[in-house]
Amino acid sequence: MTQASAANAANTDGATEPNFVARTGARLAWYAALRVRAWTLSRLARLARLARLARLVVVAIVLLVPRAAHADWAEVRAHGELGWGGDLQGGEPYVYESPTQPGVLVGFEVDIAQALARELGVRAKFHQNDWSNLIPSLERGDFDVILNGLEDTPARRSRLRLSRPYFVYGETLAVRPGSALRALADLGGHRIGTLNQTVAQELLSAHHAEVVLYEGQQEPYLDLAHGRIEGVLLDHVIAARYGCPLPELRCLSKDLARGTYVVAIRPTEAELATRVDAALSHLIQSGELRAILEHWKLWDSRQDELSARDTVATAAAQAASVASASSGVAAPAAGIAKRALSGAQLALFFQGALLTIFISVCAFGLALPLGIALAVVRSHAGPVARFFATAYVEVFRGTPVLLQLYVLYYGLSSVVRLGPIVAAVLGLGLNYAAYEAEVHRGALNALPRGQAEAAGSLGLSRVQVLWHVLLPQSVRIALPALTNDFVALLKDSSLVSVITVVELTKRMTIVAVEARDWVVPGLLCASLYFAMSFPLSRLSLWLERRYQST
């Protein structure tokens, strides 16, 4: 994610962005969170210097490299290219890589984008972008339009230009057999899964459901099948592909709400918007859109509403009306101006920070003893045990922690059904244990051999030598590296959002999208991380000074 931000940052232009300075601030907050993870004492200082250098380079790039001006219609025509943003993770049938021809994109939205571009007299060019961040990326000018299951909502309408609909979806509720959940009104207080930034999410919060947010489409249904949640509310297209076919699940046949997918265009580009609308109208009238949707087996009675756009009842409007009717619940983002953070959002921020601390402390509480045990085995045990300890370290250190979290939470869920927080603690703890093992192995090796000899010559057994003489000293040597690793863990804990844990960073992205502002939530998030990690850095320095003077 950091890499993507860096690439995007290079595209930011101070001249055309009025809130450039503020955005840069938010970007910098991201880079301040660049994690530094070191596994030997000698590498610590070098890595810290490298990180500082990397940060300087990024700042320099942000400040110096001008970005090409926003592509308007003239630009699109001049380039002969319509850049459209979407997320391949959305998968079949939207836009995804052909299973038979890797590298080739297919999906009904690919066909629509190509037809649209053809109508405009240009080529369509796909831009991969994280789905929950499509709108900020469009606003930043990474591509010309969003065409990726983006629902029409009043909030988006007030922020962007939205085309006429190209698809009508129904909100489908999937449950386990025997569930009493039937309608939106039944969902209050129940754990219901959906995707982040969807209308379904707004509908669910408006009806006081306990919303569990996912980033991929298959995961909520897997969790439902495994009993971690009580229902999944998502578009019928997703439900039909990922949820309803599962034998453990049942989908309600009646749509709980209805909405439309639209193409989003930056508000400044009136001409492009007009042309996109005209092109879509033509595709609808000519029957080409219907042909595309039929080809993808997506044409149904809902799509009759497409030709009469004004009569389409949007689920979002329904969510908005429910929310505004019930006091105390934040309405889905509406209005044009940025909204100040509410007290409730601040409270959620601190809750996220507490969860981040809780997960980090628990994970480190697991990583530390396990890491020490692994280090002892590697430096003192027999060859078989040593082999397994080495294999553990290499496997957990050699594969991404993100992957380990996925495997632990989704991959193993048919064997052990771990709750999200337990899986987060376990995943981070097991991963960090590999790093702690190396830190402690280094520290044990750094002890003079005479310590073990002197202890042995006093008649201490090998275990007593380790426990009473070697470990107390190696832990002191490792302390600065340990505090450093804990700071890294604190920041790595943001990865657990992929398994539905809403910790500090996830809370920030949710609030940022709701408030249409990345600066204040970003700075708040960064300062909370800083408030947690800075005292640890000082502690590390103090410990280093204290024990190096011996």
């Binding site: 002197a454 006093l458 201490l460 107390p472 011996t550």
Partner: protein, 233 residues
Amino acid sequence: MIRISGLHKAFSGTAVLGGVDASVEDGKIVALLGASGSGKSTLLRCLNGLETFDRGSVEIGGFSLQPGSHDPGVLQAVRGQVGMVFQEFHLFSHLTVLDNVTLAPRIVRGTGRAKAEAHAHELLSQVGLAERAHAMPRQLSGGQKQRVAIARALAQGVRVLLLDEPTSALDPELREEVREVLRRVARGAHDPSGAALTILLVTHEHALAHELADEIWTPAAGQIVSKSEPKKH
């Protein structure tokens, strides 16, 4: 009684001990006096199992050590009878002076804290460090560290004390305080009322060896080439 018979030891093919035969009677003090590289430290380390040996045997403190790796139980039993003082002290840097001295009695012998500490205070006052019981090793001079190491080696009531170049790592002006402690320990060994303490001292300080020892061994080329009476001044 220490009996060394036909002791052979080679490090990666190079013979260091080439058939050492020697014995020390209880309560005697023997100094191994010789150039570095003559194998005297290795001989000492073979006596308490810090090094294994290839051939021969060692009888020490009522136990017998055989070639190859030692049984941990036998090793622990031997070490309960044989104390060792190292050239570089090797105090446990995370423990106070007092805890350095009481560690082995408490966790190996299972002596209660109060009793172990009372004995440790006694030993520390014998080496002139009663005042520094609660200091950390890093706060001590080299000479003081070595005196703590001697107290630590004696804390389990050992019958044999192995001293490996106890003054060599010290600045000349600090050596005398350690020599003085060694004199006191040697007098204790010779005290007929006390339990017999056998001492093997590896050193290249001629004066010290001749002053303290009952017998001087001179190792060379992996053998003990001469055993002589010290020249008492």
